[in-house]
């Protein structure tokens, strides 16, 4: 009789409410995030169609820069050359031209090196390029500092000595 009463007490007691953690929400969020990233990066990524010369690869930039320099060497149109060169968004156009001139000269392309060096030399004479060169090549110039090494019109190989 006692046992029967105990059994009845268990049956009539209300079931304890199940406290489930909201972990499933986090799982859903992460799953959705992964799906979203896969869709945005792999399935349907942003496509660049109308790019600028500044986004070209290094080799293509070199070719573009070289073409600008060669056109300048033939036409002497500095304004147009400077505008075109600005499209490449080089940090220091004069320095970049000089480095490229050295490189192509080492590869034996003298005419191309001369054109690059000529443009670098002429651009360095412009105030805005002088400022850029001074800031990036010698941050703290003094009166006794040697001039930054840039190629010249008559000497296509830039040297580090003044």
């Amino acid at each position: 009789m006692t046992m029967l009463n105990d059994t009845q007490e268990v049956r009539t007691s209300p079931p304890a409410p199940q406290k489930r953690s909201p972990l499933y929400l986090l799982t859903g969020l992460i799953l959705g995030l992964i799906l979203g990233l896969v869709y945005a990066w792999v399935i349907n990524p942003v496509i660049y169609e109308d790019t600028t010369p500044a986004s070209l690869g290094d080799a293509d930039k070199d070719f573009y820069r070289s073409t600008i320099a060669q056109v300048y060497a033939h036409t002497g149109d500095l304004e147009r050359a400077a505008l075109r060169l600005a499209l490449l968004e080089d940090e220091d156009p004069v320095y970049t031209l000089g480095v490229q001139a050295q490189r192509v000269l080492a590869e034996g392309q003298e005419a191309e090196a001369r054109a690059l060096a000529l443009l670098a030399s002429v651009l360095q004479g412009l105030p805005q390029y002088q400022q850029t060169t001074t800031e990036s090549v010698s941050p703290q110039p003094t009166a006794t500092d040697p001039p930054p090494s840039i190629p010249t019109n008559t000497l296509p190989i830039p040297t580090s000595t003044p």
Partner: protein, 118 residues
């Protein structure tokens, strides 16, 4: 609706929220970046300017194979098609007549020497 159904609804909403956040991050905050794009993807005005440079060089050098090699920079398509597109663009955007003429001369010489047609 019972508790189980609600859980499915919330689970679906969580996936949707995550998906939206993923899209926002992948498309807006940190989209795929192309650091080394191909010259073929250059905007039409930049392509036209490059073609003009090629024509300017051809005007002084007179070296057609070299000019064609330079035009290859913009892709494997027909050089004449590229030139004609550039001439059209230059005409529409009122380029200087001398610039237009330079490109027209190059296009004419390509047709003359190579007999290429679009």
């Amino acid at each position: 609706m019972n508790r189980r159904v609600w859980r499915f609804v919330f689970f679906g909403l969580a996936i949707l929220a995550g998906f939206t956040a993923g899209l926002g991050y992948g498309w807006v905050i940190n989209p795929v970046r192309y650091k080394s794009t191909s010259p073929e993807t250059l905007r039409r005005d930049y392509q036209t300017d490059f073609i003009l440079m090629t024509a300017e060089l051809y005007n002084t050098e007179g070296d057609l194979p070299l000019a064609l090699a330079r035009l290859d920079f913009l892709g494997d398509g027909s050089p004449l098609a590229l030139l004609n597109a550039a001439i059209d663009f230059a005409h529409t955007h009122h380029y200087a007549p001398t610039d237009l003429q330079l490109m027209q001369v190059l296009a004419a010489d390509i047709v003359l020497v190579l007999g290429e047609t679009e």
